[in-house]
Subunit: 134 residues, 2 copies
Amino acid sequence: MGITTRSLYGLRLVVYLMKKGGSATVKEVAENEGVPYRYMERIVQDMRKAEILSSRRGRGGGITLVNPEKITLKKIIQALDGKLVDLPCFPEDSSDCSRLIDCDARKIWLKLIEGIEDFCGSININNIIRRKYG
Amino acid sequence: MGITTRSLYGLRLVVYLMKKGGSATVKEVAENEGVPYRYMERIVQDMRKAEILSSRRGRGGGITLVNPEKITLKKIIQALDGKLVDLPCFPEDSSDCSRLIDCDARKIWLKLIEGIEDFCGSININNIIRRKYG
DNA sequence: TATAATTATACTAATTTGGTATGATTAAAA
DNA sequence: TTTTAATCATACCAAATTAGTATAATTATA
């Protein structure tokens, strides 16, 4: 289970903006966080689509966190990697994998996924940065 | 965070052997679990090195779980994928990533990893199969 | 009108994953 | 003692994913 650089950089972006307590340009964040600018641009776009942040175009524009106090690790990873955990045994599509019905192995994986989703959903970035918890 | 087919098949192997309650040949397991034989052979080798199972060569040989009651999801994934969760920000090597000292983002990732490791370590396959818990 | 920003999309390179292939080794049975 | 049935050790390859670049369009301000 690998953490991608997309999520890695996405979290850095969120932390950066929270600490700054306002807006910034993508360029500023990329430079300060050591992330390739073009790459960061694309990460920002996905986060905007997921409504983690909003943006303003044109000179003087930039990005702002939408609801800082509600951003969890789960949201960031889902926005950038699509799924939090990807189980490659052909889930909802059914048709494939004849073993699916009453597959004990699969039940164990689903248990794992549920646990990870709950846990990631409970990791509130703002609370951690503000030292409210943990 | 993707689950690999190696871990997927490794867990199937463990469940198969537990239900059978004894030994089997790699070929038997591969056929019954719908896994390519040569691939399963390599998975078995890594699990043997991790002492999840033992093997006997030659005609009449096969594989057996070593301590079925102690096998967790953590052990299986670590044996087959190396790390449970891989954080690509150059950890123990230090030298790389000048941001490392007091990096809040990294602390959050380490918190996640710790949580996942604890959780996976608590998922005991035998207990689940025997319906002792869960 | 120039400039500084985001947006959209296409492309490419590197790495990882998933799987094959080949041959050696071991041990039991014929 | 030879055949057969099993694991063991490596090397190889192809497909998919990930990481990152490139280009041009759009938007808004100065």
